[in-house]
Symmetry: C2
DNA sequence: TTAATATCGTTTCAAAGCTAACGATTTTGA
DNA sequence: TCAAAATCGTTAGCTTTGAAACGATATTAA
């Protein structure tokens, strides 16, 4: 077969249609996920998806290094700097430089931040459940397995 | 069982851990995907992920209504307006108002835009393949099936 | 010891992105 | 027919985002 795709000029048998489908649909779901959550849950609290994601980390770990926040949320350290500044102005967290290594900064959750998460999280979780309720429990587990495989191999 | 999660105060049997895992890992992969592509492929062409996504639509359909671009990319119409403005300044596309309904605007790919896509797309596609190569062909197909299920049920 | 290198977080600047308000156009309904 | 409502894309004003440059601190190497 020497059939050539009209647009890409790539031979059809070397065009990985399945790979395209995975990437396209993956991003579409993530985008929909983010938009839905921001509009239906987070807007009321004046939080962006990333801001929530950081607050969540702080909720779990109490205090987290700036660098770890960036890695965990998949954004640049500049973004972490900006967002924690916003969160700090809302008194949801504060910054604390490490005395042992004064280059490092810890971000710490305030009591107010904790209270916000306690009322916010149940609603967020409800949204999560709604979104993936299209899948059975087994399908959810399988999906997670495949996603983790991608994360591991690409070091995301 | 009346065990209560320490943080959330939600009874453990009503905390849908599988749903959390799906959402978390899904977003992480999408974010990694976007970052990798923007850094390794798109940066060289001065294009963002969304800008590329729109150019791709234009490449396939030649001309697309602004509204459809927004839906397809999952961004607001204001963003489409901004990005097409940027693309227009780079002479990769131009705008054309519909004569039948003068409220509507079509975005059309220029020859230069077409040329850019012809050299850019093969590289982008290579990146796509790399990223999902962790999965077998069957796993890719299965993943797409599950993702489409979510998209359909949530109307993403 | 001290100069070079590395690491960390912030700042700067530009683009991306959203909501809301707006003007222009079309459709609807009385 | 013609005012009210709906629809479309842009603009205004804002936050988010990242690359690069920057200062401060720590580590390494000679």
């Amino acid at each position: 077969m020497d059939t050539i795709n009209r647009l890409t000029q790539i031979p059809i048998d070397s065009l990985h249609v399945d790979a395209i489908a995975v990437v396209t649909n993956l991003y579409r779901v993530a985008q929909g996920l983010k938009n839905k959550m921001e509009q239906e849950v987070l807007a009321e609290f004046g939080l962006s998806w990333t801001a929530f994601s950081m607050l969540y980390d702080l909720w779990i770990w109490e205090s987290v290094e700036t660098k770890k926040l960036a890695l965990s949320s998949g954004v640049s350290k500049a973004t972490v700097s900006n967002i924690t500044k916003t969160l700090e102005s809302k008194e949801l967290c504060y910054r604390k430089t490490d005395n042992r290594d004064r280059r490092m900064t810890y971000v710490v959750l305030t009591d107010k931040g904790k209270q916000v998460m306690e009322t916010l999280y149940p609603r967020f979780h409800k949204g999560e459940i709604e979104i993936v309720s299209s899948l059975s429990k087994d399908e959810q587990i399988n999906m997670t397995k495949l996603l983790r495989q991608i994360i591991r191999d690409n070091q995301f």
